[in-house]
């Protein structure tokens, strides 16, 4: 199964090994692992300490949108295998949130497809993050730069 939405952690090494096992035409696997950061807003300066992150999602629609993203990535690049694992529930700094991986005969397709997966997932998969900070819990706001990153791919539709 190429799409999984789960509360449990995952084993990156085992998942990547399983992705290419038994298919010697795969020349490379590119992957991205998203982690819970201990600071909000990403810049360090001006950010707040984050002690936990809770991911809410829309069961049913999440799987449906991730399947649509997988279909889109497969239409754009010649891929032998695609994997998306996304966790939900309460996570702590350092915990894994998401794994995206693409296997292809050549590295360019694998790298580009993996980048695309993350850009589209960030703007289309129905997940919402709530951070626990010293000032209390607060919902993470969507970033405009994420929309721009996704738009970049829209301009080069297959």
């Amino acid at each position: 199964m190429a799409i999984r939405v789960q509360a449990e952690d995952f084993d990156v090494g085992a998942e990547l090994a399983a992705l290419s096992d038994g298919n010697p035409s795969i020349g490379g696997v590119a992957s991205f692992v998203g982690l819970v950061r201990d600071m909000s807003k990403g810049d360090g300066a001006g950010g707040d300490a984050v002690s936990a992150l809770t991911l809410e999602h829309y069961p049913g629609m999440t799987e449906r949108q991730l399947a649509a993203i997988e279909a889109e990535v497969r239409a754009r690049w010649p891929l032998d295998a695609v994997l998306i694992i996304h966790r939900h529930g309460r996570l702590l700094p350092g915990d894994r949130i998401v794994l995206a991986a693409c296997a292809s005969a050549h590295r360019a397709a694998a790298f580009e497809a993996c980048w695309f997966l993350m850009d589209w997932l960030k703007t289309k998969a129905p997940f919402w993050k709530q951070e626990e900070t010293p000032d209390g819990a607060r919902w993470v706001e969507a970033k405009e730069e994420d929309e721009h990153a996704a738009d970049r791919w829209r301009q080069q539709a297959p």
């Binding site: 998203g34 991911l55 809410e56 999602h57 829309y58 049913g60 629609m61 449906r64 949108q65 996304h86 949130i97 998401v98 993350m118 997932l121 960030k122 703007t123 289309k124 998969a125 129905p126 997940f127 919402w128 993050k129 709530q130 919902w139 993470v140 706001e141 969507a142």
Partner: protein, 83 residues
């Protein structure tokens, strides 16, 4: 018609889902939001800024002019922040 709310929309409105029977003149998703806003201060506050309200009907993203049918599952939520 079943309506689901997520993230801060759920928190502000105070429920994750409800069954509603809007009047016949509520024909589109935009009409539905206008009608929901009239249901009380919590709804009015949560739905005040449509720029930050996303809508899905039967688990697909739609615009504010999407037609509604009685058995639809409508979800209202803020812009997504996964990944």
């Amino acid at each position: 018609m079943r309506i689901l709310y997520f993230a801060w929309l759920r928190a502000k409105i105070g429920t994750a889902e409800e069954e509603v029977a809007p009047p016949a003149e509520v024909a589109t998703t935009g009409d539905l939001i206008t009608w929901l806003q009239s249901r009380g201060p919590a709804y009015a506050d949560a739905l005040a800024n449509r720029a930050v309200v996303k809508v899905a009907v039967n688990q697909d993203y739609v615009g504010m002019d999407h037609p509604l049918a009685p058995g639809d599952e409508v979800a209202l939520f803020p812009p997504v922040t996964g990944g």
